[in-house]
């Protein structure tokens, strides 16, 4: 028996596990979302309002950003502007340096993942502790997010138990009961919440009219980070703005129902600058461009900036639910990632992503801000063809075939088999390109099922 066989079998198992985890999890969230949405007899009207509010926000972005800056400053906060990741990271690092902080605690924030803040801080001797349970799991496992809302969706409980047993719960008895694993995280992080002097957060929304910043979360780590440390730095993309306080009445209804399928998430926190005697003594807001103005320049594509990161489009996508988040090679996976990443990073950086879709339209149907993802995908495909002078078109067309294959389990398995033989649309050129630098399990030498069948035979 060749040495590679056990490895291939393990990979096959892992792959099967990943797909099973994903299929089960996304089906569960889909059902929860559907039930939560069905409770609102004005759901479509809420979506219409949300879409218009976001469109209006983008149209008035310069004045609204200036208004936000004024309000936050009046309330005792400090506003920093960052053209790109390096400037944003430098701003956060400068605050840490000013306070002599060599540790910071963090609330889950995709924007800070996008700019690689943790690595940038580490390079300057500052250690960032992720405090969201899933982010902690990924950080400890040297892994990265595969879902916007449940970033460790690709991990099961026994993997997490093993990970904790050799890291934060070393030497302590630990079963794989989720309660025990959550308790281990609580114990590990509590001391940090009580002692670390600086926190970094993202923002779900910021209100131009009042200067309020809003974080929606479940575990309470967000409240800990935004309340207990002496210094708080929030990093937010320019698109997170809402013009008016009143707009919260729409977004605080559509976000939790679309995301976790709850009427409201356990905790929604709003703060405005500094509140003397209550919470951080210093507040910094870093307003980030990092490619967003390029997205804004595309009249059709700019609606990708309306996204409120609810992840509903991931859970209904026939491609995402089969390949998982890592295949998209970006902190923004799924349908939204397929339109946001190529626009943020440039079409040359991710020319095949617009083809990673079956154009089935399920994403548009569930999107609470009505982003027309299929139309933007088609539009971006056209731009790829024009702007890359056809260099990647053949690959793109093959990608579309791959995506179609992902649309059905039978087709996917057939494609996977062909790929192993070096044929078919999943073959190395495309898969090699699409999964370059990504952690998608390679098609195993033998699928688990056929391996098992042979063993039995």
């Amino acid at each position: 028996m060749s040495e590679g066989f056990p490895q291939a079998a393990r990979a096959a198992l892992a792959d099967t596990q990943l797909r099973r985890n994903l299929a089960g999890a996304t089906a569960t969230i889909r059902a929860r979302r559907a039930a939560a949405v069905a409770e609102c007899d004005d759901w479509q009207e809420l979506r219409d309002a949300a879409e218009a509010i976001k469109t209006r926000t983008m149209a008035r972005l310069p004045e609204l950003l200036e208004m936000l800056e004024t309000r936050v400053t009046e309330a005792g906060g400090t506003v920093h502007w960052a053209r790109d990741a390096a400037e944003a990271n430098a701003a956060v690092a400068a605050v840490a340096a000013a306070h002599g902080a060599d540790e910071v605690i963090k609330v889950k924030s995709i924007a800070t993942d996008e700019i690689g803040l943790n690595e940038a801080l580490a390079a300057r001797g500052v250690r960032a502790f992720e405090t969201d349970l899933a982010e902690l799991i990924n950080q400890l496992g040297d892994d990265w997010s595969s879902h916007i809302l449940v970033p460790a969706i690709h991990r099961n409980r026994s993997e997490i138990r093993r990970l904790f047993a050799r890291t934060i719960a070393k030497g302590r008895p630990l079963t794989d009961a989720p309660e025990e694993l959550a308790e281990a995280a609580r114990v590990y992080l509590r001391e940090r919440f009580l002692s670390v002097p600086m926190a970094v957060s993202g923002a779900n929304f910021a209100i131009a009219e009042t200067g309020a910043v809003c974080v929606v979360e479940s575990e309470g780590n967000g409240r800990m980070c935004t309340t207990l440390p002496r210094v708080l730095v929030t990093v937010m993309g320019i698109e997170k703005l809402l013009p008016r306080w009143r707009d919260l009445e729409v977004f605080l209804q559509i976000l939790p129902r679309s995301a976790t399928g709850e009427p409201m998430s356990p905790y929604t926190s709003l703060w405005t600058g500094v509140h003397p005697g209550d919470g951080p003594e210093e507040f910094h807001l870093v307003i980030l461009d990092n490619g967003r103005t390029d997205v804004l320049a595309d009249e059709l594509g700019r609606q990708a900036l309306h996204c409120i990161r609810c992840s509903a489009c991931l859970n209904v996508c026939p491609v995402y639910t089969r390949v998982g988040g890592h295949a998209y090679g970006s902190v923004y996976p799924g349908p939204i990632g397929a339109i946001l990443t190529p626009q943020l990073k440039g079409l040359h950086a991710a020319p095949t992503l617009p083809f990673a879709s079956t154009l089935c339209g399920a994403c548009l149907e569930v999107c609470p801000v009505k982003i027309d993802i299929p139309s933007v995908l088609v539009h971006l495909r056209g731009r790829v063809v024009r702007e890359t002078r056809g260099r990647v078109t053949r690959e793109g067309v093959m990608m579309a075939a791959v995506a179609k294959a992902f649309g059905s389990r039978r087709r996917y398995e057939r494609a996977q088999r062909l790929a192993r033989l070096g044929h078919g649309p999943l073959a190395d050129q495309v898969m090699g390109r699409w999964t370059a630098m990504r952690d998608l399990p390679e098609p195993p030498a033998q699928t688990f099922r056929s391996w098992w069948r042979e063993r039995q035979g």
Binding site: R60, P62, R190, I207, E219, E262, G273, R302
Partner: protein, 210 residues
């Protein structure tokens, strides 16, 4: 050019001379929409769905009910906001004056606060950093949170709450919406109550004597 001016200039350039800014259609149920039924009863039902414990009582029974709920969790000492003295039968209350540091709050382990308002549709209590709600750390660090909701402050919907909080928003008070105890679904989507925030949320709804 400063990063600020550069980002703003890029935004203006990207938008072009006349980006379309549609009016916002607000056809959804707005604040003040009239509704049938009893908002307070609905609130109790919804809050209980999050596995928060909800008890309803009259003004005169409040101290006894708070005492019973505290005892149910083995609590004999509770922190409370500086400006609002709560009587909890059989337990000692520790006012947040001078401000209790997080470690002290952690060791006391329980807190009783009021609230600004509550939302029936979603079973949410809202704290606004005012005299009844207290500082944010108060309702966050202790593991048991007893939260008093005055029946008269229960509103029907999220838009009702946002309208009622507009003055707070304008004053820049910190606002915290709490819907059930802290929870996570990060491990195989199985809900676990209580991660970093209070693991126990006890809501006591008080009907004031007319």
């Amino acid at each position: 050019m400063s990063a600020r001016d550069d980002v703003l200039a890029r935004v203006r350039r990207a938008l072009g001379p006349s980006p379309s800014a549609p009016e916002v259609p607000r056809g959804y149920h707005q604040a003040g929409a009239s509704r049938d039924g009893d908002a307070v009863a609905r609130f109790c039902e919804r809050a209980a769905e999050y596995t928060a414990t909800v008890t309803r009582c009259g003004d005169d029974a409040l101290a006894a009910v708070l005492g019973a709920r505290a005892r149910a969790h083995g609590v004999t000492r509770l922190a409370c906001p500086a400006a609002t003295a709560w009587a909890v039968d059989g337990a000692e209350t520790v006012p947040d004056d001078p401000p209790l540091d997080p470690r002290t709050l952690d060791s006391i382990g329980a807190v009783v606060t009021g609230s600004a308002l509550a939302i029936a549709d979603t079973g949410t209590v809202v704290l606004d950093g005012g005299p009844a709600s207290g500082r944010r750390a108060l309702s966050l660090v202790p593991d048991v949170h007893l939260c008093v909701v005055r029946a008269a402050t229960v509103v029907w919907s999220v838009p009702d709450a946002i309208a009622a909080l507009a003055a707070d928003g304008a004053r820049g008070r910190p606002v915290t919406f709490i819907s059930g105890p802290s929870a996570t679904s990060d491990i195989e989507l199985q809900r676990v109550e209580g991660v970093h925030g209070p693991r126990t949320l006890e809501i006591v709804v008080v009907d004031e004597a007319p």
